[in-house]
Amino acid sequence: MPRFLLNRFSQSIVLLVIVSIIGFTVLNLMPGGPLAQFGLDPGMTQKDIARLSEQLGLNRPLWNQYLDWAWRLIQGDWGHSYRDGSSVLTVIGRHLLATLLLMGTSTALAIAIGSWIGIRGATHRYSLFDYCATVGAMVALSVPTFWFGLIGIYIFTLKLGWVPAGNMYAIGDGSVLDYLHHLILPSLVLSLVHVAIWSRYMRTATLDALTQDFVKTARAKGVSERRILLKHVVGNALLPMITLAGVQLPSLLTGALVTETVFTWPGMGRLFLDSLGYSDYPVVMGLLIFSAILVVLGNLIADIVVAVVDPRIRLS
């Protein structure tokens, strides 16, 4: 195990370096840059822009900027946002909880509902339920989330008045009930897609498990279908799901770009979009490194959990 971890750790460092170099380069190659927002300000002269560029160190060669950034990061300095001057970790911290709340809720919903649909679809293959679930999943996967979001707002806010049109809480309220009220629509919309993904995977995994020899043996021994399903099938079908959960884990903290924008949710996804829009390099790079670390961790955790749960697998 320690050797496995050491291996993984060194692989991760290489990965982070590669990701950061690519990210930094692509970001800087993007036309515009952080000062483009002042380009059409009639009062800012070329001289003003040049001065800002020098103060921010943007006039240095790219490799120089990268090494400077990387060296500071190694020392624990993630830099400061160009937009509001706060440290990058502070900026990330401000948005983390909002995302965790939204993503946590919708992922929990998605796993519960998705698994149920998947298992039921597999055990009742080619039934009406299975067809509906399949078609529903295809629709949910192919229709863009912003459309679901806007339709949701139109129906449930404007027409029915049941839920608010976005935001995490009403200004001046902020009670638990108020948070929950605001959480309903965005988490449902977001979980739609995840339910679709989870149900498809779960269906396949369950079908796979159902055809295994141990299921036939159990049936031959006269074990009830219900017991077979709960004791033999679901446990085995959940194994590949652990890996899927590991892959999805980072999104718990990196957020949903579109849904957060439509529902005015002050989370990480929107922070990323905004920072990208303003070419706030330190924040974008910070988010990139942050999510890269999460991806590494998510996969690592999944591998360990699978090894613990499945005695056939040994980490070495």
Binding site: P42, L52, G85
Partner: protein, 554 residues
């Protein structure tokens, strides 16, 4: 304080004129002061107004490089020496009078400035405001390590002297009249807080600003909203609302939806999108107003291209533009046709310019007369120059693309070939634009810095970058008379004399047509019925320039 009172009466009178004219459509308040009809009823600030914004305000130190959406916070938390009213007249704010050559505030040669300041203004932490703060502010702007916003004008200031806590003077390197209006956007920051900071760029103040303004800093929830609270000790009139909230709603459809559902009391920048204008007007209990901005849209020409050197071609192209159809058909009737770069809310706007008339037959005649005859391919030509050119703008802007296609078709009827060649924003407005590498461009922008009519940067022959100049005269327009007038205007302080100068400039530019003016940009501002005192001011960049005067009618 006599001068300040005089100014206040002046603005009240102009507000009344405005109301009578129905321009604002909002009765019952003066511009900067207490609601006229409820003078006694509003002793204590009450209620809350939520302003919805499509971009997030993030820069709270008003001297640092920032964008339009940050202005609402600056105007509410801070004060400048002066402020500009909706008619374009400069009024005193932290200063007790607007200096000019008559009252001795500005010397005859325009070089020596002397400003008298209020003695009753206080910072939100209770410390008195004084001339030292003004000196500190002007010096901080020029601090080479500080990430300042605009330095134009400030760079000319020398020998700042604090004469007394309520009086300050300085010398200008050269006479520069626009500086007065630049000072309406230069908010004064507290010396006693910022002087202690080693690095003003990352100061704690930048995240929790302290000003002298009508609202104090409350709290900010990043990515969501920020809240300001009434400053009960404000030296001026107001504020009347207890809380002013700026709420960030990135999706413009959702911004409008929240206005409709009542979650947002006032839709600020970037306002209601034009396609919702018709619907918004019919919403119950909402007031929807078209507010003029300083920017205008034009068909911008590169005068060094042989196709455009001749005035007749530019006149013919202008006559071939069907502005009405464009404004009504493409832009939902929101913008206002214009003949000039000067916004109509400006004191310097020339309303007597020749009116554009769409007339294809006349356009053809102009070209025929000038000798541009159709060639074998149907395209007009003269002396070997084909009347064919490219037109560029930001790619991915569907409205502008439709405008281009519309013009392309009209021009084709005249034997003029226009090729559409659009570029991504960053490429478009980089060297391609700045170094005049284009044939023609569809562009919307403001020519004014603040509300000052000086457009040297845009129209002076000294400002052509492609010819080694500094500025944004990318049409490469050169008219010695305009140059001379621009130089004169920048040195002239009296607003009546300046008005004559800039009106003449507009006449000349309208005649020469270095660009074909299409329309002045209006925005669709929405407010909930019941909020009074919201007066649009196209001479500022924000809807929240006078939040101190807002109040809920009971």
């Amino acid at each position: 304080m006599t001068e300040a009172q005089t100014a206040s009466i002046y603005s009240r009178r102009s507000a009344l004129q405005l109301m009578i004219a129905g321009a604002a459509g909002l009765a019952g308040s003066n511009l900067l002061g207490k609601p006229v009809l409820a003078r006694t009823a509003l002793a204590k600030p009450t209620g809350r107004v939520i302003v919805g914004l499509g971009q997030e305000p993030t820069v709270f130190n008003p001297l640092m490089a920032h964008i339009e959406v940050d202005d609402g916070v600056h105007f509410s938390v801070f004060d400048a020496l002066f402020r500009i009213d909706p008619q374009g007249v400069i009024q005193p704010n932290l200063a007790v009078e607007v200096p000019n050559q008559k009252n001795g505030g500005i010397s005859e040669d325009g070089l020596k400035w002397r400003i008298r300041l209020r003695d009753d203004a206080h910072w939100h932490d209770g410390k008195p405001f004084s001339a030292e703060d003004v000196k500190f502010t002007l010096e901080l702007i020029m601090n080479p390590n500080f990430r300042s916003w605009r330095t134009a004008g400030h760079a000319l200031v020398r020998d700042i002297t604090v004469i007394s806590p309520t009086e300050i003077s300085w010398r200008m390197e050269e006479a520069f009249a626009p500086y007065l209006s630049f000072l309406t956007e230069t908010f004064i920051v507290p010396k006693h807080i910022l002087e202690k900071e080693a690095n003003p760029n990352n100061a704690a103040f930048n995240q929790a600003p302290v000003g002298t303004g009508p609202f104090k800093w409350g709290q900010r929830v990043a990515g969501d909203h920020l809240e300001l609270v009434a400053n009960a000790d404000y030296f001026g009139e107001g504020p009347h609302i207890e809380r002013l909230v700026f709420k960030y709603i990135p999706d413009l459809t959702v911004l409008y939806t929240q206005f409709k559902s009542g979650d947002v009391d006032l839709v600020g920048q970037p306002y209601i999108t034009a396609d919702y204008y018709g619907e918004a007007k019919s919403l119950p209990n909402r007031v929807v107003t078209l507010v003029p901005k300083t920017s205008f849209e034009s068909f911008y020409l590169n005068l060094e291209r042989p196709q455009f050197t001749e005035l007749a071609v530019r006149e013919a192209l202008y006559a071939a533009i069907d502005k009405d159809s464009i404004i009504q058909g493409l832009y939902y009737g929101v913008p206002t046709p214009t003949e000039t770069f000067m916004p109509r809310q400006s004191l310097y706007f020339n309303a007597n310019l020749p009116k554009h008339e769409f007339n294809l037959i006349r356009a053809g005649q102009i070209l025929d007369k000038a000798g541009w005859a159709p060639g074998a391919d149907g395209i007009r030509a003269k002396n070997g120059v084909r009347l064919s050119f490219a037109n560029s703008t930001t790619s991915g802007d569907p409205l502008r693309e439709q405008l281009q296609q519309f013009l392309q078709q009209t021009f084709a009827q005249l034997g003029i070939e226009m090729k559409i060649s659009n570029l991504p924003a960053a490429v478009m407005w980089g060297e391609f634009w700045g170094e005049s590498q284009f044939d023609s461009v569809v562009v919307g922008s403001s020519y004014l810095i603040g509300a000052d009519p000086d457009v040297t940067n845009r129209l002076h022959s000294r400002s052509i970058r492609a010819k080694g100049g500094r500025g944004s005269n990318n049409a490469q327009y050169s008219n010695p008379e305009v140059d001379a007038l621009l130089d004169k205007g920048a040195r002239t302080f009296d607003s009546e004399s300046r008005r004559a100068i800039y009106q003449r400039i507009q006449e000349l530019v309208r005649r020469d047509l270095p660009f074909l003016p299409l329309y002045q940009v209006n925005v669709v501002q929405g407010t909930k019925k019941g909020i009074s005192g919201v007066v649009p001011n196209g001479n500022t960049r924000t809807e929240s320039w006078n939040a101190l005067a807002w109040y809920w009618a009971s």
